[in-house]
């Protein structure tokens, strides 16, 4: 990674700056509580004591980074996976919803885009609704989806996966419509001179042309699916999952718990995006498009 693009040093620099700012904020935001406590107990507080105290509160306004990682360590490595307090357990619940929603969103998105590209009526009628669907606040519609699906007998994983689907199909439709339309006139004319059938035109030209677009939108979609899965856990009174952990944490003022769930969610998202990226490189590499001219497209 480092040798190829020289990205590592800039990324680490930014990370170091963020962490530094974070710790300044920790002291700044948690200090009032410390001064308040000191006043109540009539203790003189030195600056040094104050600073070290702000990083060891039980319910800080903003927990320190090391507190969050300590909590993550305690609830992953030191807990059994089956425990209700294990973050791996909760992450797995959310991940399974994410993956199911992502797969459904992927299939739905690709099918819709194929329809939109091949059918004028669908292009005119479906596309505006696809766009409208994303203007509805997901937080408002999520409980409705859960309630309605529960009423017709779906519970557990499926309703939550639908919400992940709802968020993830959109980038795929938009990306794939563009991708399937990306062949230029000469490439299309060429197929016509061969009197190619519609399915030959699709599989030998449109589909391979759309691959760079597909993987770029899959990266966006998989992250959106995770957001959908977490949001789906919030209003439904879910007892397990990263969203449920965040919600429970906010009920009891457990900021460290919220942040640790948040960090794990971010790690899961990064992992998913990286996996899709590896798949992207593999597929485009097999299509001979990762060197020279092709690389620019693949990086997009």
């Amino acid at each position: 990674m480092m040798g190829k693009n020289g990205k590592l040093i800039p990324i680490l620099t930014v990370l170091a700056v963020i962490i530094a700012i974070w710790y300044v904020c920790v002291v700044w935001l948690n200090a009032p509580f410390e001064y308040d406590q000191a006043q109540r107990n009539d203790i003189e507080l030195t600056f040094g004591e104050m600073v070290s105290n702000t990083m060891a509160q039980k319910r800080p306004v903003l927990p320190a980074v090391h507190q969050v990682f300590e909590e993550i360590w305690n609830t992953t490595v030191l807990k059994k996976v089956t425990s209700k307090r294990s973050l791996i357990y909760h992450a797995w619940i959310t991940l399974s919803v994410t993956l199911l929603g992502f797969i459904m969103g992927g299939i739905l998105g690709i099918l819709l885009s194929v329809g939109i590209v091949h059918n004028k009526a669908m292009d005119k009628s479906v596309m505006p609704w696809v766009i409208t669907s994303q203007t509805i606040p997901i937080l408002a519609i999520a409980p409705m989806i859960i309630v309605v699906l529960n009423a017709i007998g779906f519970s557990g994983l499926i309703p939550k996966a639908f919400i992940a689907t709802y968020l993830s199909f959109f980038p795929i439709v938009v990306g794939m419509v563009k991708g399937l339309r990306s062949p230029d006139q000469a490439q299309l004319d060429l197929m016509r001179t061969y009197n190619a059938s519609k399915s030959q035109l699709f599989w030998k030209l449109r589909w391979p042309s759309s691959m760079p677009y597909l993987f770029t939108s899959l990266k966006v979609a998989v992250a959106a699916a995770l957001v959908g899965a977490i949001v789906a856990e919030l209003p439904t009174g879910a007892v397990a999952g990263l969203g449920a952990r965040m919600l429970a944490g906010s009920y009891y003022g457990q900021t460290i718990q919220i942040w640790s769930a948040l960090f794990v969610a971010a790690i899961v998202a990064a992992g998913l995006v990286i996996i899709v990226g590896i798949l992207h490189n593999y597929v485009l590499g097999r299509m001979g498009q990762l060197d020279g001219q092709g690389a620019r497209e693949a990086d997009a």
Binding site: A186, Q187, D189, T193, Y194, N195, A196, P208, M211, G288
Partner: protein, 260 residues
């Protein structure tokens, strides 16, 4: 003398545009015989590419009659009567050279063994046999265009339609490819329709030169070349060559003045 491959009678094509109709082709009468090498020359907008595309059934004529191999252009296309070479090679970037050349064969349902044999054969014909496994971007522009010619030859149609295939290449490469194209034509005895901007190229290659002029696109002159079939590059220094080039130039000038 021989059988007619393309016959156009009073062929017209009008493109409706917001600024009014554009007469891309107006009353074009033309006959092309089997084995002819016909060049279409004229300034841009004279309808030479449009005429080629009409033969290929990529454009629909507004009026008039057009027959390719004795049937309509659409039927000829469905019978895969011609190979088309575009101005830009338009190779599919995700396919290797050999796989690009195999594309029409796949679509037309040739067996795997036959595909392999034909790809090998046409790659040798355009001397690209060492580049079979390369991707298009690994080749120079001239090589890409040769690959696209190989692709159009792969299914062995008797008619070859070429739309300014060497227009984007430098003159040295162009000379070389012109020579190769003549050799190929002599060997395969195909009928070739060739659109070009270059008077030299047209005179050097053709048995018949169709001079066209714009607005509306029409045929000004049809010149039958008196040059022998065997043409070394230095034939371009001969008086005969210059005479034909002169007549082409006159035709182009006449087309201009007609325009006002």
């Amino acid at each position: 003398m021989s059988e007619i491959v393309i016959s156009a009678k009073k062929l017209s094509l009008v493109f409706p545009t917001p600024d009014g109709d554009v007469h891309a082709l107006s009353d074009v009468d033309l006959e092309i015989n089997k084995g002819d090498f016909v060049s279409f020359i004229g300034p841009s907008g004279c309808g030479k590419t449009t005429f080629l595309r009409t033969i290929a059934d990529l454009e629909l004529p507004t009026s008039g009659e057009l027959q390719v191999n004795g049937v309509s252009a659409a039927e000829a296309r469905k019978a895969r009567a011609y190979g088309y070479v575009f101005q830009h090679a338009s190779l599919y970037p995700w396919r290797t050279i050999e796989s690009n050349i195999a594309l029409p064969l796949e679509i037309m349902g040739f067996s795997k063994a036959e595909q392999k044999q034909r790809v090998k054969q046409v790659l040798e014909l355009v001397s690209l046999d060492d580049f079979a496994k390369k991707y298009p971007w690994q080749l120079s522009g001239g090589m890409q265009q040769r690959a696209s010619i190989a692709r159009s030859l792969a299914f062995d149609a008797d008619l070859l339609l070429m739309d300014e295939p060497f227009g984007a290449l430098d003159e040295i490469v162009r000379d070389h490819l012109n020579q190769q194209l003549l050799e190929l034509w002599a060997r395969t005895n195909k009928t070739i329709c060739f659109v070009t901007h270059s008077i030299n190229e047209a005179v050097y290659l053709s048995t018949k030169i169709v001079v066209m002029s714009p607005r509306p696109g029409r045929v000004i002159d049809v010149i039958t070349s008196t040059l022998p079939k065997d043409r070394p590059l230095d034939i371009r220094e001969s008086d005969e060559f210059r005479d034909i080039a002169h007549r082409v130039r006159e035709g182009l000038r006449a087309g201009q003045s007609y325009d006002g």
